[in-house]
């Protein structure tokens, strides 16, 4: 136990003396937390649409007006032919192309039905999904208005065949009353900032801890440790504690920035958050440790940790939803501690989830942590 105290003394001294590192570690994350949410706006607006109106009827004009008035779309092209509109999509000048065919209004009334043609650049899924959804929604609304108006007209209109339908009730309609819970203003920051905080803490935990140990390997001081009576597990604990502290510090700073800059106040309890953080750091430091036991140079440590961190960043549900992954990918992601912690962060901060709600995730992280740390401790040999 006493040796642990001496170890920690040394570790903290070294850490606090490493000015360059401290600066990078504390500053860069802050910048990230400030920049990222600014940029990370998934809300789809300003969708560029190119419209070809071959009908030139009052109805088609009204539809186009409705589309531009919606606020979702920007009319970037009003072309004479549909191929020209499609060309605009090809050139990335428009995201969608809409064709209102000739005799649209006339045929709609006569045949009771008529097609509209929409082409969407589907390379980027979210835009395609939402763009299509918004447009369909607008067309649907327009359709309803048209229907109501038409029926009103025919009721008050002159006789003939049309009056046969006069007095006919409007068809029954189901309507949807939708509400958004936990994030009623659909604020993306609420969604992104907790996840970004996790990515920051991850880099410190997994990468920096690995570097630190490999540095000792490269400078030879680890040999002095190996030749001394320090027990293996004491040495490892001595390495982990400073980074645990650093991770907690970073997390706290992140929460503060989240609060000051974005007004994000966790709905759930801070205790839940911090306990989850510690379990998470335990797992990630285990990974860092493990990577260090397999690296002999800083370059190797960097390559290995960068590999994992990049995969974590992309696949743990920060930017894309885990639900949309194929089964095998979801299984792999399940072994990533970040995916669990990100879920915890989002549910606790936004929905106020408590310990009982996040038990499965906590257990998963703890199990992974035990596995990684055990492997690391077994792999680290004082005697070769």
């Amino acid at each position: 136990m006493k040796t642990l105290v001496f170890l920690l003394e040394k570790e903290f001294r070294q850490l606090l003396r490493n000015r360059q590192l401290l600066r990078t570690l504390l500053l860069a994350p802050l910048i990230q937390l400030i920049l990222l949410p600014l940029a990370a706006d998934y809300s789809v607006k300003n969708i560029n649409i190119a419209v070809t109106d071959n009908d030139h009827s009052p109805s088609s004009q009204r539809l186009i007006a409705k589309i531009t008035a919606s606020g979702y779309f920007r009319l970037t092209g009003y072309t004479a032919s549909y191929p020209a509109a499609l060309k605009m999509v090809e050139q990335d000048k428009a995201d969608l192309a809409l064709q209102i065919p000739a005799h649209f209004e006339r045929d709609l009334v006569r045949e009771n039905t008529k097609q509209l043609y929409i082409a969407i650049n589907a390379i980027e899924g979210t835009k395609a999904n939402l763009g299509g959804a918004y447009l369909r929604s607008i067309i649907g609304d327009f359709n309803d208005d048209l229907r109501v108006q038409w029926n009103m007209m025919t009721e008050t209109g002159q006789g003939n065949a049309i009056s046969a339908s006069a007095g006919q009730d409007d068809p029954p309609q189901v309507s949807v009353a939708s509400s958004n819970w936990y994030n009623p203003f659909l604020n993306f920051h609420l969604y992104m900032v907790p996840a970004i905080l996790v990515t920051l803490v991850t880099a410190i935990a997994a990468m920096q801890s690995a570097f630190n140990i490999v540095q000792e390997k490269e400078s030879g001081t680890i040999e002095q440790i190996n030749v001394s009576p320090i027990k293996k597990h004491i040495f490892i604990i001595g390495k982990m504690i400073p980074f645990l502290a650093l991770g907690i510090l970073l997390f706290t700073m992140g929460l503060l920035v989240g609060r000051l800059l974005y007004g994000i106040v966790p709905v759930g309890s801070l205790l839940v958050l911090y306990v989850s953080l510690v379990v998470y750091l335990f797992a990630m430091l285990g990974l860092g440790l493990l990577l260090a036991t397999y690296s002999n140079t800083q370059m190797q440590a960097m390559s290995l940790s960068f590999f994992f961190i990049n995969i974590f960043n992309m696949m743990s549900g920060v930017f894309t939803s885990i639900d949309s992954m194929p089964g095998w990918a979801q299984a792999i992601v399940f072994t990533f501690p970040p995916s669990h912690f990100i879920k915890i962060m989002r549910t606790v901060v936004l929905k106020g989830s408590g310990f009982s709600d996040i038990m499965p995730e906590l257990w998963a992280m703890a199990a992974i942590g035990v596995f990684l740390n055990t492997w690391a401790v077994l792999n680290y040999r004082k005697t070769a």
Partner: protein, 246 residues
């Protein structure tokens, strides 16, 4: 002889390569035992086995009475070690390094404080108590490294090529420190490829191609091989060596 190190056919193989073969020798208490040989001869492998850093492939060895296979942790409590790289923490001060190594060897805080004072006085480094080690000149780092390796008063201290890259004056001062330690009862096990340092040792062994080719006092060896200096003795033994150094 009051043996603190005993080995019996100590061997280390890396796959098919035999780095050290059937080493058999004894080192007595308070002796300055030189372990010489060209680069690649197997000195460092042998030393690492004795320190508990490497598990031998076969053979027996005891350090301070403890078995090298089953009691490595006890061995480590009783030995000191100085690596080729002088392994001090560059970003800690002189006193912080002493404090750390004293602490991990189980010394009490008052004992560490006292020892620090003594050490700094002996090395005349009092003015550098709070200097970061990376700012010390090489010679001082080296001397400090040695002193730190015996801060906990071990029975034996292992020095792996401790005088690399240092000027002759500093080397002399360094050996003065070693003498002082030996006088107080510490056994010194030192590897080196500087043949003139062999003269400073009580007994010397010379490794060639993984085996001990000769073991005796420097005077005895010079007589046996009819050489005027240890360098010539070495040349005699090593010139037919199969393993060339780097």
């Amino acid at each position: 002889m009051d043996a603190v190190i005993t080995t019996d056919k100590l061997t280390k193989k890396f796959g098919a390569f035999v780095a050290a073969s059937e080493l058999t020798f004894e080192v007595g208490k308070g002796e300055i035992f030189g372990f010489l040989g060209a680069n690649g001869a197997g000195k460092t492998t042998a030393m690492r086995m004795l320190c508990g850093l490497l598990t031998p492939s076969s053979g027996k060895a005891t350090i301070a009475g403890f078995d090298v296979y089953t009691q490595t942790e006890k061995i480590k409590k009783n030995i000191g070690y100085m690596s080729q790289k002088f392994s001090l923490y560059d970003d800690l001060t002189v006193s912080e390094n002493i404090r750390f190594y004293g602490g991990i060897y189980g010394m009490s805080r008052p004992a560490i404080k006292k020892k620090t004072g003594l050490l700094l006085e002996e090395l005349q480094l009092q003015s550098e108590t709070n200097t970061l080690v990376r700012e010390l000149p090489l010679g001082w780092k080296q001397k400090l490294s040695f002193s730190v390796s015996i801060v906990h008063d071990p029975e034996i201290v292992f020095l792996d090529e401790p005088t690399g890259g240092v000027d002759p004056v500093t080397r002399r001062q360094f050996w003065d420190l070693i003498y002082a330690a030996a006088d107080s009862g510490v056994t010194i096990f030192v590897t080196t490829h500087y043949m003139d340092e062999a003269e400073y040792c009580n007994r010397v062994s010379i490794m060639v191609d993984g085996v001990i080719a000769a073991l005796d006092t420097p005077a005895g060896l010079k007589q046996k091989y009819g050489s005027a200096s240890m360098e010539d003795v070495f040349y005699e033994l090593a010139r037919n060596a199969k393993r060339k150094g780097d």
